[in-house]
């Protein structure tokens, strides 16, 4: 349970609803002013005839157009800069496998704000000086690693930047340094249990772990409970996305009843992805976020494509920052497997390139034991095949290899008969998720 005093930033974490609203309005005016220094927003304000000084409340906010991945891709990232280039001290980037990578720029103050958000998340769940934190997640352009790293150092814990993978080494590090807290992708946490077993170790007995931060991919309550049981820890869900800094946008508190979204840093709207209108509080919709504190690259009304709902009522922890539910799915067709974001279009492009012709395909996401598997079914048509059995093996191998280099995952490839992939009301179903995450 929560320690008596678990506020990293007591003032911000104990704001009342009214205080949050008035702070948001004040910061909104500030961020709109900052936006008018960015070439992109200057253009948008002009085109849409928006006078930022006339945006006075949350209703007025609706006059500002949404931003989304495509807009970020189609415009040069520097068009979103609201400060001179030399103020920027870091960039992160999405994988860019679907084409143009999205680049996010951070000023020194942006990095500090972000670290402070992560520090709140860690501190409220009992991480303290003296803890040993193993950050078992990708460093580099991916925000997961460095985001947590800076937050952990701010809290003042010994931070082991172990990065992703290298399972035996991870376990050795845990044992050698007495790791008490770790940050890990949930599917990897489960995978690691196999390695513990191989090494004849029991994570409950043979490590000092007591807290796991799990995130970067959707998972179910069941999965959390399994992880907690196997490791003998408390596991906390987190939410974030590169476009909004990275991890730490929303985080579970010790009550594990939804993730508090830090509303002093973001304005949250939940919209119907079809009508684009806001849905009533508590109803599921797409999360739309406006950065309130980012000075380097402010983004207004960003459509995350993540579907979730706001959990009504007050959290027993007392924080009034609203809570969002687990992510229930996506309003586009992106899926996450083994921590990697994949769009069906990427698979389609690889198939097109490999085969030279379009072929019907379907992606199956399955859970086999503790492993997640991605299986790509490809229909074998007359154009692809010249009657030899050996061709089929080679084709399978070529598809697998090309997919691996494009999406950095090795999928299973299954060749199926033409016409055997089922359609739904005449529409191709590209992804069948049988993992039961939601």
């Amino acid at each position: 349970m929560a320690p008596e005093d678990n506020y990293w930033n007591r003032r911000m974490e104990t704001l009342s609803r009214e205080e949050i609203s008035s702070l948001q309005l004040k910061k909104l005016r500030g961020i709109l002013e900052i936006c008018s220094h960015s070439p992109y927003y200057r253009r948008i304000f002009k085109e849409e005839k928006i006078d930022p000084s006339r945006i006075e409340d949350f209703d007025d906010l609706r006059r500002i157009p949404f931003t989304d991945k495509n807009i970020l891709r189609e415009n040069p990232s520097t068009d979103f800069l609201a400060v001179p280039r030399e103020e920027i001290i870091r960039l992160h980037s999405t994988s860019g496998t679907t084409g143009q990578a999205i680049v996010i720029y951070y000023t020194r103050s942006d990095i500090q704000t972000w670290a402070e958000m992560i520090a709140r998340c860690m501190y409220m769940n009992g991480v303290r000086r003296g803890d040993v934190f193993q950050n078992m997640i990708g460093y580099g352009l991916f925000t997961g690693g460095l985001g947590f790293h800076y937050g952990a150092e701010l809290v003042g814990v010994l931070t082991i930047p172990s990065g992703a993978g290298n399972s035996r080494r991870q376990i050795q590090l845990m044992r050698e340094h007495g790791t008490t807290v770790a940050h890990v992708i949930p599917s990897y946490a489960l995978l690691l249990t196999e390695v513990f077993e191989e090494m004849g170790l029991d994570p409950r007995e043979d490590t000092n772990l007591r807290i796991l931060f799990i995130g970067a991919e959707p998972h179910s309550e069941d999965m959390r409970q399994r992880i907690e049981e196997i490791y003998g820890v408390d596991a906390y869900n987190s939410y974030g996305l590169t476009e909004m800094n990275g991890p730490g946008v929303a985080f579970e508190c010790p009550h594990k009843q939804g993730m508090h979204l830090w509303e002093d840093h973001y304005i949250l709207e939940v919209i119907d992805p079809q009508t684009l209108e806001r849905v009533p509080e508590g109803e599921e919709g797409e999360l739309v976020l406006t950065t309130l504190s980012r000075e380097g690259m402010p983004i207004l009304r960003y459509r995350t494509r993540d579907l979730a709902s706001v959990i009504p009522g007050e959290c027993p922890c007392g924080r009034k920052h609203r809570r969002i539910s687990r992510i229930k799915g996506r309003s586009d067709d992106m899926f996450i497997i083994k921590g990697v974001n994949v769009f069906p279009l990427q698979v389609e492009e690889v198939l097109m390139k490999t085969l030279g012709v379009g072929s019907n395909y379907q992606i199956h996401l399955e859970r086999v034991g503790v492993r997640e598997e991605m299986k790509v079914l490809v229909e074998v048509t007359g154009e692809l095949w010249h009657g030899n059995p050996s061709e089929l093996r080679a084709l399978q191998e070529r598809i697998r290899e090309n997919l691996r280099s494009a999406i950095l995952l090795t999928p299973l490839v299954e060749l199926v008969e033409a016409g055997s992939i089922t359609k739904s009301e005449g529409k191709a179903v590209r992804v069948v998720d049988k993992r039961g995450n939601f």
Binding site: V380, G382, W385, G387, N388, P389, L392, L415, E417, A418
Partner: protein, 142 residues
């Protein structure tokens, strides 16, 4: 030149039934069949009395099929019958990729069906060595 039909099929119940039903409805007589299985899929090879008709019927039913050129050669149904052919091919450097055989007249004649890379060369080797190579029409007659 003779032909067989190679059909891509998934390895699951009901697929062969569908295939044979299609041929039945098209009035096709199957002279020989082999199946090359590879875990989750396989290739069914069919020697039929009317390859073109069988091919069209299968395509129409949505099968992925391929008309494959083959060599059908008569061999003696006696000890050493297959050896004679293999010897003729082997000494002239012709590799057999896939083959199957069946008896036409017991103790007298049998048929060997071969997939080879160099069809014209193989045919010439066999004819030069005194073997009878069948055309589609002749295959239908037997």
């Amino acid at each position: 030149m003779a032909h067989q039909i190679n059909v891509f099929a998934q390895n699951k119940p009901g697929r062969l039934e569908h295939l044979t039903k299609t041929l039945l409805e098209a009035g096709i007589n199957i002279r020989a069949i082999t199946i090359t299985g590879m875990e989750d899929f396989g290739v069914v090879k069919l020697l039929v009395d009317s390859p073109e008709k069988a091919y069209q019927a299968l395509i129409k039913e949505g099968f992925t099929a391929y008309m494959k050129e083959i060599i059908a050669v008569i061999m003696r149904d006696q000890p050493g019958g297959l050896h004679e052919i293999c010897q003729a091919m082997g000494t002239r450097g012709i590799n057999i990729e896939d083959a199957y055989g069946f008896v036409i007249q017991e103790m007298k004649t049998a048929l060997l069906v071969m997939e080879v890379e160099k069809i014209p060369e193989a045919e010439k080797v066999l004819v030069d060595s005194g073997f009878k190579v069948l055309s589609d029409e002749e295959l239908y007659q037997i």
